[in-house]
């Protein structure tokens, strides 16, 4: 079972916003009052202290992507919006899970974590806490496999993403540019 899947319902938007109080509420409030669904959301400071970056995975079945982008763009603290096509971006997410790990299964779990290049981050008498970073689809697979051991608690961070680098030689990042009606959303100046 894949919660993320590779279906076309979900698009990733990275939104550069002013680093001011209440901005997340403005973004979340916009989605809520216009009936748009957020699939996942991650917020963190950017490399410029004036701005934060919000990575939102949106469900485009709830509303057309262009309408979501244009409404988001109307928020005054939103500086720029970039849509990242999964095909031309690198996406990462972190999963942490505490699993039942009695003597019979502990070895299997450690082995599985090793195969996925994850980490054991905490060890108890009959439980293990594991962490795995990777592409969302890889995390989906891992989640499917660990479920049989008994998940006590699990958290996923929501994805962050950056555009794939251009290997053609001219050096610039390979950004998916917006189609005409929303080109103005690149307005960082």
């Amino acid at each position: 079972m894949s919660v993320y899947g590779a279906d076309k319902r979900h698009h990733t938007l990275t939104v550069l916003v002013e680093n001011k109080s209440g901005v997340l509420a403005r973004v979340a409030g916009l989605f809520s009052r216009r009936g748009y669904n957020i699939f996942s959301l991650a917020v963190a400071p950017s490399d410029d202290v004036r701005f934060s970056r919000i990575t939102i995975v949106v469900d485009v079945e709830s509303a057309p992507l262009e309408q979501i982008i244009k409404q988001l763009d109307k928020l005054i603290p939103v500086v720029s919006i970039t849509e990242l096509d999964p095909a031309v971006s690198r996406e990462r997410e972190l999963l942490m899970a505490t699993l039942e790990a009695g003597p019979d299964t502990r070895g299997q779990i450690i082995q599985l974590v090793g195969v996925f290049e994850g980490k054991i981050v905490d060890v108890g008498h009959d439980r293990l806490t594991v962490a795995l970073e990777g592409a969302p689809i890889k995390l989906d697979d891992f989640e499917d496999l660990i479920r049989r051991y008994g998940i006590v608690e699990m958290q996923r961070t929501g994805r962050v993403a950056l555009p794939k680098l251009d290997r053609s030689g001219d050096g610039g990042p390979h950004l998916l540019t917006h189609t005409a009606p929303v080109h103005h959303t690149e307005k960082a100046g």
Binding site: V17, E18, S21, G22, A25, R26, G29, L30, R33, R50, P64, E66, Q67, K70, Q71, D73, K74, L75, I76, P77, V78, V79, S80, P181, V182, H184, K187, A188, G189
Partner: protein, 607 residues
């Protein structure tokens, strides 16, 4: 120069050339009320904060300048939430200042604390909570900039009491000092798209100019008129756009929508090209969206890019200021050879044959085939509909039942053509929009998007403050009047001589109409009583002249009497027929093809 935050706030408003503000003081805003005593700004003390907000809206709508209101924290702030929502829906520039509890008390459920920036996030264009007095001048400058540029709208500045009391070093920001890295409203339209729009216009056979409130916001009435007259394309003016194109103009079809006239509604339905200018395909205009104007291509011009393709796909969607885009469009049409024909100018011009001669002069150009020659059948069809389905009502002399439409026609004819009319929401609003003749922009003030009952009285007061040179009439319903009538005390004490016509049918009339038509005449909670309150006595107790009119014969004399009063407000209680319904009507959710006209028009022809 050191000032308190409060002094800096008032000085900042002065720097923005604010002449008047509407408000009501209270605990948290107390410090800001002190410097008002020494300020050049006129402060009008309202009786309820909602009144302050609607007055600011009325002021903004007739002057084009931002309306300013100031209230205290907690209930003061929540009482102005409705006007903010109203202004947001109708894109009215407002700057509302709210007091807030001290920064040290925020979040502690302090006395009269409310999270007004949180509450109003979804109904303001933007809002600010000031936590540092040094931000005050910059935030005020940003607030006015945001409220008045791009798609206008309301903004709110929340100022905690301690920030207002503490000293700060005064400065006034230069334009480059504004900290709005994410705000860059569009103005000019993309030339390539404008050229596409011009091509579609020249190819159309049944075009309609669908003019919305954006025309007024863009001060583009003259540009619209030039576009209409040069192309010969008929114009519908939405509820928010009444007056942007003269009703007396031969190309004007009037108001479309749920209670629009038959020709305006049907012209859009049968159109092959809708040129939407500052209009937003509101559900009250489109009816059932899937059935709206099925054969029409759409050119959509709006300053808010998010309006394009929001409701209806546009073949050509142009983000830009309506006035600038229309002017660009005229240049593009010039380039395609659309003639400048003097015969097409002027209010009485515009007969199809006038322009044909003009078009022949540039025979061979694309425009030679356009437009008027080709529009002759379309214009003839529209005339036929206008003739067959006019707005009608039946006022019998001496019958004892006074028709609201008759009151409005009499009022219209007894007042100057540039009279400003404010209305509340309901049947009286639709009657006013239908029966008034709007020949000047900025003469119609109403609550279109939010549909706020009680809007008329305070909005009329604000309009009169903004335009003291004009006669201002509020057309109100009895239900609406009871919601905000206390502001007539404000009007009396401030000597603001507005005039109020209450169309008193003793019902929440529009709800009653729906219950009659769609709920099997089961009337639920809509009866109000014509005599309780006693409107004349109430008006007089508020310092107004109060008059009562019960028959057709009394209408004109009462209006003349009211028009002669110039030192206080006047209220006329018109006792109107409770059974009168607003027609035409498109039922909620129905197709505009299923428009219901006045029953008298269909008797005998089986429609």
């Amino acid at each position: 120069m050191e000032l308190t935050g409060a002094q800096a706030l008032i000085k900042s408003l002065e720097m923005q050339k604010v002449e008047v503000m509407f408000g009501l003081p209270g605990g948290a805003i107390l410090p800001v009320y002190d410097p008002i005593i020494d300020s050049s700004i006129r402060h009008i003390l309202v009786r309820h904060e909602q009144g302050a907000g609607h007055m600011a809206e009325g002021y903004a709508q007739v002057t084009g300048r931002p309306g300013v209101a100031m209230v205290t924290s907690g209930p003061g702030a929540t009482n102005i939430v409705t006007p903010l929502a109203d202004a947001y829906m109708d894109s009215i520039p407002l700057v509302v200042v709210t007091g807030q509890v001290a920064t040290t008390a925020i979040g502690t459920d302090a006395f009269q604390e409310s999270d007004i920036t949180g509450i109003t996030m979804g109904i303001t264009k933007h809002n600010w909570l000031i936590t540092d007095g040094a931000d005050i001048p910059r935030v005020v400058a940003e607030a006015f900039h945001v409220a008045t540029t791009g798609r206008p709208g309301p903004v709110l500045i929340d100022i905690p009491k301690d920030v207002a009391v503490r000293p700060m070093e005064w400065y006034w920001p230069e334009e480059g000092d504004l900290d709005l890295p994410g705000y860059h409203p569009v103005t000019e339209g993309d030339p390539a798209l404008v050229a596409d729009a011009a091509d579609l216009i020249l190819a159309a056979e049944r075009p309609v100019l669908y003019a919305g409130g954006g025309i007024l916001k863009a001060r583009a009435a003259d540009s619209l008129r030039e576009l209409a007259e040069r192309t010969g394309i008929p114009v519908v003016t939405t509820l928010m756009a009444r007056g942007c194109f003269p009703d007396s103009h031969p190309l004007c079809l009037g108001m479309p929508g749920m209670h629009g006239n038959y020709t305006a509604v049907t012209a859009m339905q049968r159109s092959d090209l809708l040129i939407a200018l500052g209009s937003r395909f509101d559900d009250r205009v489109t009816g059932k969206i899937d059935a709206f104007a099925p054969g029409a291509k759409v050119v959509h011009v709006d300053i808010d890019p998010a309006e394009l393709d929001k409701v209806r796909h546009a073949e050509v969607g142009i983000a830009g200021d309506c006035g600038m885009v229309i002017d660009e469009l005229l240049v593009a049409l010039d380039a395609l050879g659309l003639p400048h024909s003097e015969a097409t100018r002027g209010g009485s011009g515009g007969a199809p044959s006038d322009a044909v001669a003009g078009a022949r002069e540039v025979d061979g150009s694309p425009a030679a085939r356009f437009p008027r020659e080709r529009l002759i059948p379309w214009r003839a069809q529209l005339s036929e509909w206008q003739h067959r389905f006019p707005l009608v009502y039946d006022q019998q002399p001496g019958s004892g039942s006074l028709k609201p439409q008759f009151v409005l026609e009499t009022l219209r004819d007894a007042t100057p053509s540039d009279t400003i009319v404010a209305s509340g929401v309901g049947q009286h609003q639709m009657f006013a929009s239908q029966w008034w003749q709007f020949d000047h922009p900025y003469t119609w003030v109403n609550s279109g998007g939010l549909g706020t009952m009680g809007f008329a009285v305070p909005a009329a007061i604000g309009a009169k403050v903004g335009r003291p040179d004009r006669m201002v009439w509020a057309v109100d319903g009895d239900g609406c009047f009871q919601m905000t009538a206390q502001e007539l005390v404000t009007a009396s004490s401030e000597r603001i001589p507005v005039k109020i016509a209450i169309l008193n049918n003793a019902y929440l009339g529009m709800v009653r109409q729906w219950q009659e038509m769609f709920y099997g005449e089961r009337y639920s909670e809509v009866y109000l009583s014509p005599d309780l309150p006693d409107y004349v006595g109430w008006a007089e107790s508020m310092g107004c002249v109060g008059l009562r009119v019960e028959s057709m014969e009394e209408v004109a004399p009462a209006i003349d009497k009211a028009n002669d009063v110039d030192d206080r407000p006047v209220v006329i209680d018109f006792r109107t027929d409770a059974f009168e319904k607003v027609f035409p009507m498109v039922a909620a959710g129905a197709s505009n093809d299923d428009i219901i006209v006045d029953p008298s028009l269909t008797r005998g022809d089986g429609q």
